[in-house]
């Protein structure tokens, strides 16, 4: 059930009505939301609803045990339980996401060593959104262990991990953000509602018009066979993918935040005009913020020690964090290379700061933005390519390919430039728009919303492609 479909629209109408109708009881409200979330998740595959429930039970149980132990006298037992819980989450993720990759690599290694073996074949179906809800579960456990939050009730933990707006593609909303909201019956203000409508319509436009059109008409055909396309096509596809992935993923986040807001809950910002970044460090404060802060807090600082163990270790920690961040996206070497590129440049930025000082002369800001953007675009080529060889062929074609274009059309050019121009707008433009429409009477706001959705629907490409981040 994809957000920009009529099926989801009708599902949401039912949920919205039912949830607000029972709001006199916060418990019934949450139970309804939980049931709705399972229906939403079950629309992909009912079998995995059990996995979702099992995962929630695991984290709820481990957190209860941790909370029941004395922090001073049973510190080591608490830590052991927390580590066991995190390991169980990682096993779950590892089995569904990396089992096939591991066997493939193992088979290749054995063959290279002259011990060719038939590896046990097993087709493991990847549950949608498993990377998101296991990360949520792990952060909940660590936060309870650290004493940042209290262990929550089973209903709240299950809803935290299952809540349908963020379930399949984030944002990764932490317990400390959502659990306090679950404890009280939410109130829907016109501020939240007007911002929600603006975010949903804007997200629909970015996904259904910009991302889908670029994907089907430009990016997919060129990445499918880079050798058959000219240098101009390859460049257009590289820039097109940068716009597509931003418009696709930020659209999902915008709609998720808007949908949650209409149900009375506030999610944190997940994107902040990432291609405005003048350094890669700044890029990661603007791109997929819920993942980058998760990796920073729980992996880079909590597990690896951050910058507390010397400069060399800090750079190594950055590289490890980004390599694992790349692997989080999927079991492919291209994701590891993408993470390695980001980790390497992040480390280089730290080294430059250390050698030349924080007050060193810097590139003019527009040039720094362009440079950062192009490093990101090179990373996206690896991220999008089917294989390492395909990425290298793509990069080779950018240097040596012919000049005439076969797939770049005026519309594609407008969409690429338009997608980049979003980053030139004032930083809080959507909130400004929401402040503007919150004064409108409901009939005018309803008419405006209906007309905007009608325009998007008239322009959308036939059908709706799944969001890129569903596969992660």
């Amino acid at each position: 059930m994809l957000f920009p479909t009529l099926s989801f629209g009708l599902f949401f109408l039912v949920v919205f009505t039912a949830v607000w109708a029972v709001s006199a009881s916060n418990e019934w409200r949450k139970i309804l939301l939980l049931l709705a979330s399972w229906v939403f998740y079950g629309a992909w595959d009912w079998r995995f609803v059990a996995l979702l429930i099992g995962s929630a039970l695991l984290n709820w149980g481990a957190a209860r045990i941790i909370a029941g132990l004395d922090p001073a006298e049973q510190a080591s037992t608490r830590k052991t339980v927390m580590l066991a819980g995190v390991a169980a989450n990682l096993c779950l993720l590892g089995f569904f996401k990396y089992y096939g990759f591991f066997l493939e690599q193992m088979g290749g290694l054995l063959a290279a060593l002259g011990f060719a073996r038939d590896m046990p074949l097993m087709e493991v179906v990847l549950p949608v959104g498993i990377s998101f809800f296991t990360f949520q579960g792990m952060s909940y456990l660590v936060d309870v262990w650290r004493g940042r939050i209290d262990a929550a009730r089973l209903l709240d933990v299950t809803l935290l991990m299952s809540f349908f707006p963020h379930l399949v593609a984030g944002p990764i909303v932490r317990g400390s953000d959502l659990l306090p909201q679950f404890r009280e019956t939410p109130r829907l203000t016109r501020d939240m509602a007007s911002a929600a409508f603006v975010l949903i319509v804007w997200g629909l436009f970015k996904k259904a018009v910009v991302a889908s059109e670029l994907s089907t008409q430009l990016v997919d055909p060129v990445f499918f066979d880079p050798a058959a396309h000219s240098r101009l096509d390859l460049a257009a596809a590289a820039y097109g993918y940068a716009v597509q992935i931003y418009c696709d993923f930020s659209a999902y986040s915008d709609m998720a935040i808007g949908i949650a807001a209409l149900l009375g809950y506030r999610f944190p910002r997940n994107f902040d005009q990432p291609y405005r970044a003048a350094s890669l460090q700044n890029f990661w404060r603007r791109w997929h913020i819920s993942l980058s802060t998760w990796l920073r807090d729980y992996l880079y600082i909590e597990a690896l020690g951050g910058n507390r163990k010397g400069f060399a270790r800090q750079c190594a920690n950055l590289m490890i964090t980004m390599l694992l961040g790349g692997l989080w996206h999927g079991a492919k070497w291209t994701f590891v290379i993408w993470g390695g590129l980001h980790g390497g440049v992040l480390a280089l930025e730290r080294i430059a700061d250390r050698l030349l000082g924080k007050d060193r002369p810097r590139l003019p800001r527009p040039i720094a933005i362009l440079l950062t953007f192009h490093i990101v675009v090179i990373g996206w080529i690896f991220f999008r390519a089917e294989s390492f060889a395909a990425a290298i062929a793509f990069l080779g074609g950018l240097i040596a390919g012919g000049g005439a274009s076969a797939v770049l059309t005026p519309l594609m050019l407008v969409l690429i430039l338009g997608g980049l121009a979003i980053h030139l707008t004032p930083p809080r433009l959507l909130q400004t728009a929401a402040r503007g429409v919150r004064w409108l009477p409901a009939p005018a706001m309803g008419a405006l919303t209906g007309i905007m959705i009608l325009i998007v629907d008239a322009m959308r490409f036939e059908g709706v492609a799944p969001f890129i981040y569903y596969q992660f």
Binding site: R174, L188, R190, D191, S290, P410, R435, M445, G446, G450
Partner: protein, 111 residues
């Protein structure tokens, strides 16, 4: 303010603004938007029902939605969407210079 940064649905405080009645306002907004789409965008409803798994109920629903689509066409309320869709298809087909667009089967392309 959330524990981890701001939310895009938090608008700055405005002393003159009293944001009460959000639920009623949202419900009315959603209802009116849905009604407008039902009237002006019957083609999407018809396509959606047409894509459903065939069954007696689906056939009946498809018949009703086709009648509704015809009615909105005759009333002219579907014209803005059809015009915009046609304009968009022409934009999709446009090429630089003298290139021609590849043949595509698209019955909706006609304005």
């Amino acid at each position: 303010m959330l524990d981890h940064g701001e939310s895009p649905v938090d608008l700055e405080d405005d002393a003159e603004w009293e944001g009460e009645g959000g639920l009623l306002w949202s419900t009315a907004t959603i209802g009116i938007a849905a009604l407008i789409l039902l009237v002006t965008n019957a083609v999407s409803l018809d396509d959606w029902i047409g894509d459903m798994h065939p069954s007696p109920a689906q056939e009946q629903a498809a018949e009703i939605s086709a009648d509704w689509r015809d009615a909105t066409d005759q009333l002219g309320v579907a014209a803005p969407r059809a015009w915009l869709h046609g304009w968009w298809k022409r934009a999709e087909a446009a090429r630089f210079g003298k290139e021609t667009a590849p043949d595509r089967e698209d019955r909706d392309a006609t304005p």
